[in-house]
Symmetry: C2
Subunit: 210 residues, 2 copies
């Protein structure tokens, strides 16, 4: 099946069947696709939490407007952006490039200066927004990967971010939650959207001429 | 080849070979993947411009820091978010759902109220930011689709947005440019990154435990 067919198959699943469990291998493949996702300057200024513990999922559900997918999913992927792009975090990235490519950190000084400059020109809120946006690219990649694996996923930005951060003590990790992506299998009988026609703008409305 | 292999193959191409032309069919498939991309409440609050005219590309290049991919690419995809989520735009979306699913607009009043509410609670800058973020999901989907098609792409957020908007008169369309994605083929001889090892955080650093 082509990627286009897979993307046509997927939708923001509203009801998942808790009795159907996504194999760990598929969850790992989706996580790997997210890991390979593009980000500005390759910085990947976010972390993932992959929550599978039922008790924790039950605690998360109320801060996500009690959406049923949170607990019916096999796993909940939380995209959490860095709160601040600290010099330590940037240094660690430079060290990773140096070690992976077998080059000196000194040879990466120009590139490091570019990252430092991109961060320095932004106030803290704008810098966070820029990092949060990178998580959206990762979400787009993750949704495509889930579709390819035949796994249902629901992109969610509507939840109480501050309450989730407090519940999971994300500030201690220097993180702020941005997006949720439960992974599971649609409940075709219960989900009114499962059989609904996918609605997208026609291509000649999406793509505009100059 | 699996999606993971394709994602490993792709990278932010710095030098493209202008003599290699991406078939129109592949550009259309990538555009179609973007069209199918997820967005908050399905609103798709952005448009695409797919620029292939060499003269226009040459004019765009200076506002994108003279990056060579702009003119060496077969096509430049511009992601431009709505400047304002006007009632007309929201109504048009509701009409599209009604006509695609064969239901009345009245039956969608609750859903429309949800969209109106989501927009109303944001000031104009925050609403724009929310719409711009949806374009990042679309970029993530588009990059995955390009990789699957074996087409090189370069995600770019670093360009002079205001100058590009003015050059292309995007304000007349109620749009503001957010992201660029040139599509072409890597020039392996000229691009120092073509043979460089892909650098990504190890999975046990990206995925953090509670």
């Amino acid at each position: 099946m082509s990627l286009i067919e897979k993307l046509n198959w997927r939708y923001a699943t509203k009801q998942m069947d808790a009795s159907k469990v996504v194999p760990q291998e598929k969850i790992d493949t989706i996580t790997e696709a997210i890991r390979l996702s593009a980000s500005s300057m390759g910085l990947q200024p976010y972390n993932l939490l992959v929550i599978q513990d039922k008790e924790t999922l039950a605690k998360i559900q109320p801060v996500a407007y009690n959406q049923p997918q949170i607990t019916a999913a096999t796993a909940l992927v939380i995209f959490a952006a860095w709160d601040v792009a600290t010099p330590e975090r940037i240094n660690k990235y430079i060290q990773l490039i140096a070690s992976e490519r077998g080059v000196s950190e000194e040879s990466l000084a120009g590139f490091k200066g570019m990252i430092d400059g991109a961060v320095a020109k932004l106030d803290e809120a704008s810098a966070f927004n820029w990092m949060a946006r990178q998580a959206y690219i990762a979400l787009g990649t993750g949704l495509a990967a889930a579709a390819v694996e035949g796994v249902d996923a629901t992109p969610m930005e509507g939840f109480n971010n501050a309450a989730l951060d407090e519940l999971l003590n994300l500030s201690a990790k220097g993180l702020k939650s941005v997006l949720l992506m439960p992974l599971g299998y649609r409940d075709e009988a219960k989900d009114y959207l499962a059989k609904a026609k996918k609605v997208r703008k026609p291509v000649d409305e999406l793509v505009v001429a100059l």
